[in-house]
Symmetry: C2
Subunit: 282 residues, 2 copies
C-alpha cells in the first residue's frame, strides 16, 4: 500500500492510499480521514460510499465532514466507486462501468473480471485497514454511509452485515434499485436478467426479507425534495414502507428545497455523523 497524498485537516490528516486489490484485480484508491484523537487511541470507522461519476475524492473535498469527524473522533474511509484502469471494462454512459460499480459482485462478462465492489468494500478494505491502521482504527466499531448509488451501497452492505455495522446513514439513496431505471440497467449488465439475483442488492427487498428486521442496523435517510432524481430513481417510500411493515428502524427526513448535490450533503452531514457516532458509542 502506498500513501499518495496527505493534508493536515482540522488537526487530523486527510490522506489517500493506493493498493493492489485482490477482489477487483486492479489497483484501488481510497481516501482516509484520521481525526486528531487517532494519534492516541483507536477510533471507530465510518465508511462513505460515493455516487455515480465520483471517485474517492468528492467526499473529502466537498462534504465538509472533517470538522465533525475531528470533533467526534471518528475516522472516515471513502473508497473509489468502481475498479479503474485501461484493462478494466467500461462503458460510455455515466451510469455503467468505471465510476458506476453499484457495490455489487458482478457475475456477467465482461464485468465479472474486475467489478467485485461488494467484496472489495465489505471484506477486503476492512482487512486492509486492520492490517495497516490496526493501531489507529477500531474495526470492531464500524458504521456506513453514502450518497445516491453510494447510499444504495451503504444500505445493502449495512443490511447484509447487521452484526458488523452499528448504523447506516444515506443521502438520497437508490432505495429499491430493482425497480428503477438506474438499477435495472446496472443490475442487468452486472448480474444478468434473472431478477432473483438482484434481491441481494436491493435495500427495500433486504428489509422485507430479513429474518430479524428489528435487529437490523438503524437507518437514517436524508432526502431533498428538489432532487431531480427523487421520483424516478430513488424511491425512499419503498424503503420506508418495508421498514414500517417489518419493524426495521428507519427514519427518512425529507428536506424542502434541497437537491441531489454535495451542497445538500454538506448541509446535513453533521446530523448524519452525529447519528452514526451515537450508535458507535463515539
Amino acid at each position: 500500500m502506498q500513501k499518495i497524498d496527505e493534508h493536515k485537516s482540522f488537526a487530523g490528516w486527510q490522506q489517500r492510499y493506493t493498493h493492489a486489490s485482490t477482489a477487483c484485480g486492479c489497483d484501488m484508491t481510497f481516501s482516509l480521514y484520521l481525526p486528531p484523537t487517532a494519534d492516541t487511541e483507536k477510533v471507530p470507522v465510518v465508511y462513505w460510499l460515493s455516487g455515480l461519476t465520483c471517485t474517492d475524492e468528492n467526499f473529502p473535498n466537498k462534504a465538509g465532514a472533517q470538522a465533525i469527524a475531528a470533533e467526534l473522533g471518528v475516522a472516515l474511509v471513502a473508497p473509489d466507486t468502481s475498479p479503474r484502469g485501461e484493462g478494466v471494462a467500461d462503458d460510455d454512459a455515466y451510469d455503467l462501468g468505471q465510476g458506476a460499480g453499484f457495490y455489487v459482485n458482478a457475475t456477467q462478462a465482461p464485468w465479472s473480471t474486475h467489478y467485485q465492489m461488494y467484496d472489495y468494500v465489505a471484506r477486503e478494505l476492512p482487512d486492509i485497514l486492520a492490517e495497516s491502521f490496526g493501531d489507529r482504527l477500531d474495526l470492531a466499531r464500524e458504521a456506513i454511509a453514502g450518497h445516491s448509488m453510494g447510499g444504495h451501497g451503504a444500505l445493502v452492505i449495512g443490511l447484509r452485515n447487521p452484526d458488523r455495522f452499528a448504523a447506516i446513514a444515506a443521502f438520497a439513496p437508490i432505495c429499491a434499485p430493482s425497480e428503477v431505471p438506474w438499477g435495472e440497467k446496472a443490475f442487468s449488465a452486472y448480474l444478468g436478467d434473472d431478477k432473483r439475483a438482484w434481491q441481494a442488492y436491493d435495500a427495500a427487498a433486504l428489509v422485507t426479507a430479513a429474518d430479524n428486521p428489528k435487529a437490523l442496523p438503524p437507518i437514517r435517510v436524508e432526502q431533498g425534495l428538489a432532487d431531480g432524481f427523487l421520483d424516478e430513481q430513488l424511491a425512499p417510500d419503498r424503503l420506508e414502507a418495508a421498514a414500517a411493515q417489518t419493524g426495521a428502524r428507519c427514519e427518512v427526513n425529507r428536506r424542502k428545497g434541497y437537491d441531489h448535490s454535495y451542497f445538500f450533503i454538506a448541509s446535513f452531514i453533521e446530523n448524519h455523523l452525529r447519528f452514526l457516532a451515537r450508535h458507535l458509542g463515539a
Copy 2:
C-alpha cells in the same frame, strides 16, 4: 445578469451568476452564498478572492464556509480569478493569464484590454450587487478575504479602500508580490518594468506607505508552516514587519503542519469568518 446555477445550502442559497463586465470587457461569473437571514433582512457581504488556477467555484465547493456564513448571517461573494474567453489574452503557464489575474488593472499589451480585475472586484462587482441584490445585501458593511493570489488581492483591495472594508482576512497570501517570483512575473507582464507602478498592488508596501496606518482595516493572516510556497512566494514576515513598524493592525497565525490547500482553508475558515463578522457587527 443571468443566474446559471442554484443549490439550497444550510437553509440559504448557493448561486452562480454570469454578466457582461464593463471593466473586463467580457462575461464574468461569480458565486454568491445568501444566508437564510437574507430572506428577511439586509446582510453584510464578505468577498472571497481565490488563488491561481481557481474559478469562482473552488471556494463554495471546498471551503465549508456556508455553515458558518449561515449561522453568522453574512453573504459570501466569490468572483472568478481573471477575465476569460476565447478573445481574452492567455499564457500557457498557470501563473499568468486566465486564472491568474492578480487583481490588478493591467497597463501593458496584450493584457490591458481585459485584465482589469482591480476595478472589477473593487468597483464594478459591488455596483452590480447593489443593483441586483440591494434588498438582500447591505453594501455599507463589507469585508474581504482570500487565498494565496487572492489573499494578496484581498489585502490590496482592502488596504486601498480602508473606509469601505471593515476587516481583511487572508490565507497564505502573497504579502510582498514585488519581491517574489510569482509577483515579479505577473507584475512585469501586466504593469511593465517600472517597479514604482507595482507598489499600488503590494500589501507590505501599502502598509508602509499608508498615511494613517492605524486606521487601516484590521488584518488577520493564517499561514500553514508546511506550505511549500511559504519561503519563496508568500513572505508574511514582510507584512508583519511593515505592520509592526507602522502600527497597522495585523495578526499572523502560523499553523504547524498545514499546507497550501483548501484542507487548510476549511480548517480555519470559521476563525476567519468570525473575525470578519465581529468587525462587520454581524
